[in-house]
Amino acid sequence: MRTLLRRALLAGIAAVLPMAAHAATEIRIMWYNDGNEGEVARDLLNRFEAANPDIKVVLDQVPYKMITENLPQLVSSGQAPDIARITDLGGQADQYLDLGPLLKDRAYWEKNFAAVLPWTRPAGNTTGIFGLMTQLTVTMPIVNETLFQQAGIPLPGPKATWQEWAIAAKAVAQKTGAPIPIAMDRSGHRMAGPAISMGAKFFDGDTPALVDDGFKVMTKLLYDWHRDGTMSKQIWGSVGGTAYRGANEEFANGQVVLYFSGNWQFPQFAKTIGDGFDWHGVNNPCGPAACTGMPGGAALVAYKSTKHPAEAARVLDYLASEPVYAEFHARTLFLTAHAGLAAKGIAYKADMPQVRKSLEAAAANVLALSPVAYKLQGYARNRILFNALTVRLNQAIAGEMSLDDAWGRMTSDVADGLKAAGVK
């Protein structure tokens, strides 16, 4: 089956392109890894190279730090790679190459990636195609069902509120001796979904406004949970600044009842936990406003400074093509941003019931995403908000300042950040 596909692909591309006689053009992709995606991408690109001898794709697998800290400098000083895999989607959008005119089938992209294309567009642009999502993520809870069974407490239903989950998780922890009822990744992005469920708007019209009533409810909840032992300082209290900290190890060790993270954890848990206990993703808990998580993900973007825009577009076109895109997701267990594939369903290479159940829950969570969450994710400067939230809430939790002071500092941090970034 796969060879047939490959042959069809080969024939298709060969028909479009006259035989390339000149030396291969080199396209460089700066790529970071969370799991096995680099391996899979390399494999897929090898096939592309075999079919396109005129293009050689170099996959520079770099530390994630280089993407966040070094790449922006390279881009600003005109030394960007041809393509990079980024997570700060709108960060340097004015430097991205508009792929639209270079793509073979623009309509295919517009039809299948309609929801995510705005994330990589520069401010004011509403029509261009600036990036290919390699991975769609949704933040969501993962529960240790075995602990619930041992405690004899039923899992709260799909419409349960955050407060109900907290009570249930705490009761389970008490009965089973698990030390951490609820864990949440230390990240402003993770906090945003629950806050939106509580009614946070994050914007006043189009101006970012971090602290509002809904936001206060959720931050207060998180703050209180750290006081009463529902959450452990191990996660939010462990590092300073904006540093990320997950609770994968604690969860895999059976110490956490409910772990609020995201669908990207599934492949790892399939490997580390395996059959050790029953774990799976569940629907996002509700608040008065919604039952939402945050969308997110990584995208491949090409830069204006590339000397080979046509070739870069061909590489991305290949990776976006339905069979290739489907295989990439099937092998990496990533959620797809491709509307057509999402509707059809992807044949994930996972036989574990835990993973299947989790992927189903993730799909449901994508459907339940609030428009506010999409708007926040599409906002190019959203990290200013997330960073202010992480740093200041952390200080409040660590006991360095009161929650009121933390809210005040968040507001002034956001104002400073926006001012420095030149946003009026």
Partner: protein
């Protein structure tokens, strides 16, 4: 073969000497070092000044708008400089306060432990070379490795907690409690660097003439007095080198602690270089002006501290009669 090679190296310099004369040769000797130094060390520092007096988030110097001293004003804007919460840039002042405490404890601890170790290693005993090597080994490890090793040991499920639990205690959140985390940054920092300072002090101890001790022994001088009257004064030049270097490096501490605690919990272990690094790099908005300004303030403080110590060392040398 080797002589031809040597001639080949000699020839250009001999030619330079014929061209400029022997009196100008010193300039030829300093030129390569100064060139590299000027381009890659001095020029960035000058450029850094430009960043400090310009604003915005742009990387390219030409794109940055001139803002005068407003970065300095922003950074120094406090109602009370001793209470970080009253400052506009409260995180900077927290970092200053944290760094001051860290430097004080780390330098004192480092010098004390290095001195004790040097005194013990200076005794006549078997396997002295081996023990000297043991204490020196961590100096060779990269800061990232040092931090990872300790992070692995100190984590809640780590081996140290296993020992604590095994001996009947409750788990200690070593890197989660502000006090513990702060202490561990000091311990790890001393662990990683003490070998180097121990060797410098050991060199000083071995240079003390043995007959001084013999004379003291014959006079029946108490050992404590021998230590204060002979050992310590004669060790002073090495002690000063150790103090200057330890102080400079303590203020500059970054990699180990950044990987170990990330500055947390809260901001309990966020030190000054990390503040600069995060302001310039880690956050999405790269506020380079503020970072450059902070680095100039740090450089200034270090310069003053070093000059003070150099002056002290010059006086000490004068007294030692050199």
């Amino acid at each position: 073969m080797i002589t031809t090679l040597a001639r080949l190296i000699d020839a250009p310099f001999d030619a330079l000497q014929r061209r400029f004369g022997a009196a100008r040769m010193p300039y030829v000797f300093v030129a390569p070092n100064l060139l590299v130094f000027g381009i890659f060390v001095a020029a960035p520092m000058i450029l850094n000044v430009w960043y400090a007096i310009t604003g915005g988030t742009q990387f390219m110097p030409a794109d940055r708008p001139y803002v005068g001293a407003s970065n300095f004003a922003e950074l120094l804007d406090c109602t009370n400089h001793f209470i970080p919460a009253t400052c506009k840039q409260d995180r900077f002042w927290r970092a200053v306060a944290n760094t001051s405490w860290f430097v004080a404890f780390q330098v004192i601890g480092l010098v004390a432990i290095s001195l004790l170790t040097a005194l013990i290693l200076n005794r006549r005993m078997p396997w002295r070379g081996f023990f000297r090597a043991v204490f020196f080994y961590p100096v060779l490890l990269s800061p990232v490795v040092v931090a990872l090793i300790w992070k692995w040991i100190l984590q809640p499920d780590g081996v140290l907690n296993a020992i604590v639990v095994g001996s009947g205690g409750a788990r200690v959140p070593f890197l989660l409690d502000p006090g513990w985390a702060f202490s561990w940054t000091i311990v790890v920092s001393i662990w990683a660097h003490m070998g180097f300072y121990t060797l410098i002090l050991l060199a000083g101890l071995q240079a003390i003439p043995a007959d001084l001790y013999e004379a003291a022994e014959m006079d029946g001088t108490p050992h404590v007095r021998v230590f204060w009257r002979i050992t310590l004064p004669l060790l002073m030049p090495n002690m000063l080198v150790v103090l200057v270097l330890a102080l400079i490096r303590a203020v500059q501490s970054f990699d180990e602690i950044f990987v170990l605690t990330g500055g947390g919990p809260g901001t309990a272990t966020q030190y000054i270089v990390q503040y600069i690094y995060e302001t310039a790099f880690a956050n999405q908005t790269h506020i380079l002006g503020l970072a450059a300004t902070a680095s100039m303030l740090v450089g200034g403080v270090l310069l003053v501290l070093t000059l003070l110590q150099l002056a002290a060392s010059a006086r000490a040398r004068g007294e030692a009669g050199r």
